[in-house]
Amino acid sequence: MREWTMSGALNRALYDALADDPRVLVFGEDVGRSGGVFRVTDGLQAEYGEGRVFDTPISEAGIAGAAVGLCFAGWRPVVEMQFDAFSYPAMEQVVDHVAKMRMRVRGRVDMSITLRIPAFGGIKGKEHHGESPETYYAHTAGLKVVAPSSALDAYRLLRQAIADPDPVIVLEPKARYWSKESGELASDGPKIGDARVLREGENVTFVAYGAMVARVLDAAAILADEAITARVVDLRSLSPLDDAVLERSARETGRVVVVHEAPRSVGLGAEVAARIMELAFDHLQAPVARVTGWDTPYPPASLEQLYLPSVERICDAARKVVAY
């Protein structure tokens, strides 16, 4: 059974999507000759040529806007924004057009755009290289937002995002690009909109996504020694959320801890907590807890572990809700 890094699995997803659908185009800054700063597009231009895999000027709004025009011409653009914070210049195009265009033209043109964004922190990056932009996108009607946590699921989500008729923002956790997972790559299985239960447990549910899933799994292993069994839900799909899995987990464990890197206030954890309250209020035995980044800008590399939810903070939150 082959072992895949997340970067390698994403690369394979692009390779396979280009092979399967002649209308798929891959473009962005340094994705062609260089193969992308995280090597996710490595070798694609050599295989598929400059007509289908190409470099662009440093021009995020132009790239996102061009993707809209390409959809009108019947193409299926897969676009890379080089880093999270560098997706912000494209925000007007994404919010005003990518997200709304299908409604504006009464469904006559699908915005089958995949916007790949290396996101989140944890790699000792420079400033503007550790942002968690998911709330901006998840708050925008018309977009779908996904964040894989492992190599095999990254392949699946990217293939599904490219095949999806709606625009999908794929937030790739930089800190997990070189993490490894063994198995067969497959695009079937859980869909966009489905969460995955990665570990069963009865006392508390952890809800996480992206790079935080690995930390939550570590926390669950530690807590098991303390006779606290934790269920781990990998959201995968941040918009839409999997209400059914959230509801079932909240009902069955009665306690929920949401973990994300993004600042706490108005973060995705607030939405998860609200949904759980709406869906399973009578079953809750403790308030939903949030373990998140602080309400600060993402800090310099030497402070980032203080900012990111640590395994210790996650364990403490679980102990508190269990003891509530």
Binding site: G62, G69, G142, K144
Partner: protein, 353 residues
């Protein structure tokens, strides 16, 4: 006829007809007398409909409406040069272009009636993109569309309209740069109408817009935007150039916004009536009509017929606009997603219950 676009000397735009209609250049732009009469017919029709729209807004039948009086030559002259497969990316002020492209006026005006956003008409069938309000954001769409057309091996050209104010936006720069780097089959058509709401073009940019093309590596040309023949010829040449695979052209059509920015705007707060009166003297329709009659391509009877036709058209559109109902409530949800999430469908059911 040279293949290259003409460059005005300094700030002087390329012109075929003087403001009084007398020819100052070669008036043979390759159009038949019938096509020349069509140019007048469209301009008269467009102006009459524009005025009707302002009346409809005053009567509460349209929401805020952005008029284009004074810009008929720039719009009709350029749109008339387009081939059937060429694609237009408009702003919110290109109703005359839409008419020439064959967009149904009542459908178009659903946008201003407030019954739909974007493109109530079919943008792919009409080859006229959705109405675009966020300034200059349609320009990257045009660049992407032009790229897509070239990848498909067609010889169709993409034309993007924008105003002088748009050129201060980053999206103008990004699209022009992509057009240059990728030598896209694209025409960047700027209607410099002197004003971006209250800001005169002199405060919008310190340079001349057509000259910016050089920095992007393609030709620019400044034409008299109130001279329908000059606009038509410049557009034709830019289209031919793009079709040949020689890349984009930036056209700056010098015109003037006679009316307010929109029906919600009061230009007396920021500009002199005297300036507007001077602009009226350079009226594009009077200029072309005078030449057309003088050249013997039309007679007074044709002019009267144009006006009668425009009157009837405006009344027909008025009736159609007034008869347009509010859309059904489910339309708020119907096209947000091609593959709607179940949580979204539950919201829809809650709203429509």
């Amino acid at each position: 006829m040279s293949d290259e676009p003409e460059h005005g000397a300094g700030t002087e735009p390329v012109r075929i007809l003087a403001p009084d209609g007398s020819p100052v250049g070669d008036a043979d732009v390759g159009l038949s007398p019938e096509e020349l009469r069509d140019l007048l017919r469209w301009m008269v029709l467009a102006r009459r409909l524009d005025r009707e729209c302002i009346a409809l807004q005053r009567q509460g039948e349209l929401t805020v409406y952005p008029g284009f009086e004074g810009q008929e030559a720039a719009q009709v002259g350029s749109a008339f040069a387009l081939g059937q497969l060429d694609f237009v990316w408009p702003t919110f002020r290109e109703l005359a272009v839409a008419l020439v492209r064959g967009v149904d006026a009542v459908q178009y005006l659903q946008y201003h009636r407030g019954t739909w956003h974007g493109g109530p008409y079919d943008p792919r069938a009409t080859r006229f993109g959705p109405i675009c309000i966020p300034i200059a954001t349609q320009l990257p769409h045009a660049a992407g569309y032009a790229l897509g057309q070239r990848l498909d091996g067609t010889d169709a050209v993409t034309i993007a309209y924008f105003g002088d104010g748009s050129t201060s936006e980053g999206d103008f720069h990004e699209a022009a740069n992509l057009a240059g780097v990728w030598r896209l089959p694209m025409v960047l058509f700027c209607q410099n109408n002197g004003w971006a709401i209250s800001l005169p073009s002199s405060e919008q940019t310190a340079g001349e817009i057509w000259r910016r093309a050089e920095g992007y590596g393609f030709p620019g040309v400044r034409v008299d935007g109130n001279d329908v023949l000059a606009v038509h010829r410049a557009t034709q040449r830019a289209l031919e150039r793009a079709r040949r695979g020689d890349g984009p052209t930036l056209i700056e059509a010098m015109t003037y916004r006679i009316g307010a920015h929109s029906t919600a705007d009061d230009p007396s707060r920021y500009r002199d009536d005297a300036e507007v009166e001077r602009a009226r003297a350079a009226d594009p329709i009077a200029r072309f009509r005078s030449w057309l009659l003088g050249a013997g391509h039309a007679d007074d009877g044709f002019v009267t017929a144009c006006e009668e036709q425009a009157e009837a058209f405006a009344l027909e559109v008025r009736a159609g606009v007034i008869a347009t109902p509010a859309p059904p409530a489910e339309w708020m949800f119907d096209w947000v997603y091609a593959d709607p999430p179940s949580s979204f469908e539950r919201q829809r059911d809650e709203a429509l219950r």
